[in-house]
């Protein structure tokens, strides 16, 4: 199988055009920014760094999963995927094109969120960016799996919500002090990104460089591999139809 950058680019351009007019998806990008803004400006006594930490986690995890799942489910529902696959584009190219658009838009929103928070030190930015990139890649793959398992856009709610909740809420609750919850949360890779965010944005003592985060980064890399294998299995079993 040969991947064509031209075809991936064609799908990326199409997704970018579609993205601009897709209100459902645009709102998802606005939520973390809006929440971060509200936490920062209207809720007194918020711990420093909480707003940015929550915004980044929501962006990378929730948007990362929701957007590709909706894109794929919509194509299935409206039967546009059929005609796309009658063209020389392969399903892998379709996945990459869609995933790439999600990835690029997450990175752009990521930068906007950091700018909105008034900026973070260079070392800290590198840590949360690299961790964010790895978590986003993992979540985008999970989103594609949800899209493959869903018959239509509405079904992504049924299939996706438990997954979204598990990957977003459990790590957050796990970091609130309950040892039992923390034990469960450690199963989810997003816990480790949440932990990285906590250490970088809440604790201001100690080192917060990439080297200090190697175990977490390793777990995230391993999770990407596991999600990829799972994606292949689901694709082989369910296909795109």
């Amino acid at each position: 199988m040969t991947l064509s950058f031209k075809r991936i680019g064609a799908i990326l351009i199409k997704e970018a055009h579609d993205f601009k007019t897709n209100i459902n998806i645009l709102i998802m990008y606005l939520i973390p920014m809006l929440l971060a803004y509200i936490y920062n400006n209207f809720i007194p006594g918020m711990p420093k760094g909480f707003a940015l930490s929550f915004g980044l986690l929501f962006l990378v995890v929730m948007v990362g999963m929701y957007v590709p799942s909706m894109m794929i489910a919509e194509e299935k529902e409206k039967k546009t995927l059929e005609v796309l696959l009658l063209s020389p584009a392969s399903s892998v190219e379709v996945f990459i094109g869609k995933g790439l658009l999600t990835f690029i838009s997450i990175i752009v929103s990521f930068i906007i969120l950091i700018a909105m928070s008034g900026g973070v030190g260079f070392d800290e930015t590198v840590v949360i960016l690299v961790g964010g990139i790895l978590t986003a890649v993992f979540c985008i793959q999970v989103g594609i799996i949800v899209g493959l398992l869903s018959k239509n856009q509405m079904a992504t709610g049924v299939v996706g919500t438990p997954v979204y909740m598990a990957l977003l809420l459990v790590p957050m609750l796990g970091s609130m002090g309950s040892p039992a919850l923390e034990k469960i949360a450690k199963v989810f890779p997003t816990y480790y990104y949440n932990d990285m965010l906590y250490r970088v944005l809440y604790e201001f003592e100690g080192n917060h460089t990439l080297i200090d985060m190697l175990p977490e980064l390793g777990i995230l890399l391993g999770s990407i591999f596991v999600a990829f294998v799972l994606l292949l299995l689901v694709y082989r079993k369910r296909g795109l139809g």
Binding site: K6, R7, A10, I11, I13, K14, K79, L84, S87, P88
Partner: protein, 282 residues
């Protein structure tokens, strides 16, 4: 160009195709006629590689569809029954995507849009178009990579007569340029008007096949309708085509200048379908 042998397809216990065989010659317009659920779309989806047959053989331009569809896809254009365009995108954005995917000249878009009279709408969002306009865009999308064979599933279903006429005209022109066309329809008039040959599909089986003219002649009762003016009113008389009595009467009326029209009474394709299958064409 298209060769199908003993194609079988079942959905659970229900047989959708029961071993159909047919071929389509190069440059032909071939029509699949049949009521809903007859197996027309299933046949088309198998031929275009969107569905796997249980058994049988299907070849397009000598390429085995069952073994792989990558190369087959470069030779075929498909107009599906559903208007599966990207609704939020403009016509131009929809077509540009496929030009890029096929690596064909982006100017093809303008050429075909002009040909179907939709150049002005290029920057209109698809969701704002009528069904007829969307159908035309689907046709253009299927033609961008200059396919040799065009598959159309119910191409004028639900269209107004003017839009259907435009589609028919473009299909005729494309066929004159050498494109082989296979279409499915339950519109008898459409098939009669467009197709060189038709196959009647009923409950997964081809029950009759041939040119519309040949079929109509085969099932003709050899009768004719003569409209005569007897001086007071117009009277319609039905006569056998064969026999001295008919010849004498027609000759007499013609000599007397009474004949206003003469029509042979071939059955329509719909009547033939009912005769062959014993069921209504719905």
């Amino acid at each position: 160009m298209i060769e199908v042998n003993s194609l079988l397809k079942s959905y659970g216990d229900k047989k959708a195709l029961n071993g159909i065989s047919f071929h389509v010659r190069e440059g032909e317009i071939f029509g699949f006629l049949g009521p809903n659920g007859a197996g027309k779309t299933t046949t088309l989806r198998i031929l275009t590689g969107q569905l796997k047959a249980d058994s049988g053989e299907a070849r397009i331009m000598d390429l085995d569809v069952m073994k792989g569809t990558r190369e087959v896809h470069s030779h075929i254009g498909v107009v599906p029954e559903e208007t599966n365009l990207y609704e939020r995108l403009t016509i131009g954005q929809n077509l540009d995507l496929f030009c890029r995917l096929y690596g064909c000249d982006i100017r093809q878009t303008d050429y075909y849009l002009k040909r179907i009279g939709m150049s002005e709408e290029k920057n209109t969002q698809v969701k704002k178009l009528s069904k007829g306009m969307k159908q035309k865009v689907l046709l253009v999308r299927a033609l961008l990579h200059s396919p040799k064979i065009l598959f159309l599933d119910e191409p004028t279903s639900g269209l107004d007569p003017a839009s259907a006429d435009t589609i028919h005209r473009v299909l005729k022109e494309l066929n004159e340029q050498g494109i082989t066309i296979l279409l499915t329809s339950h519109n008898m008039e459409e098939v009669d008007k467009l197709c060189n040959r038709v196959a009647f599909l009923n409950q997964g089986e081809i029950v009759e096949m041939g040119s519309p003219e040949a079929l109509k002649l085969n099932y003709s009762k050899r009768r004719m309708k003569v409209l005569i003016d007897d001086g007071h009113e117009l009277v319609s008389r039905e006569l056998d085509m064969d026999g001295e009595e008919s010849a004498r009467l027609v000759s007499e009326w013609m000599t007397e200048g009474k004949v206003r029209s003469v029509h042979s009474c071939e059955p329509t394709l719909a009547e033939i379908f009912v005769k062959v299958t014993g069921r209504d064409f719905v």
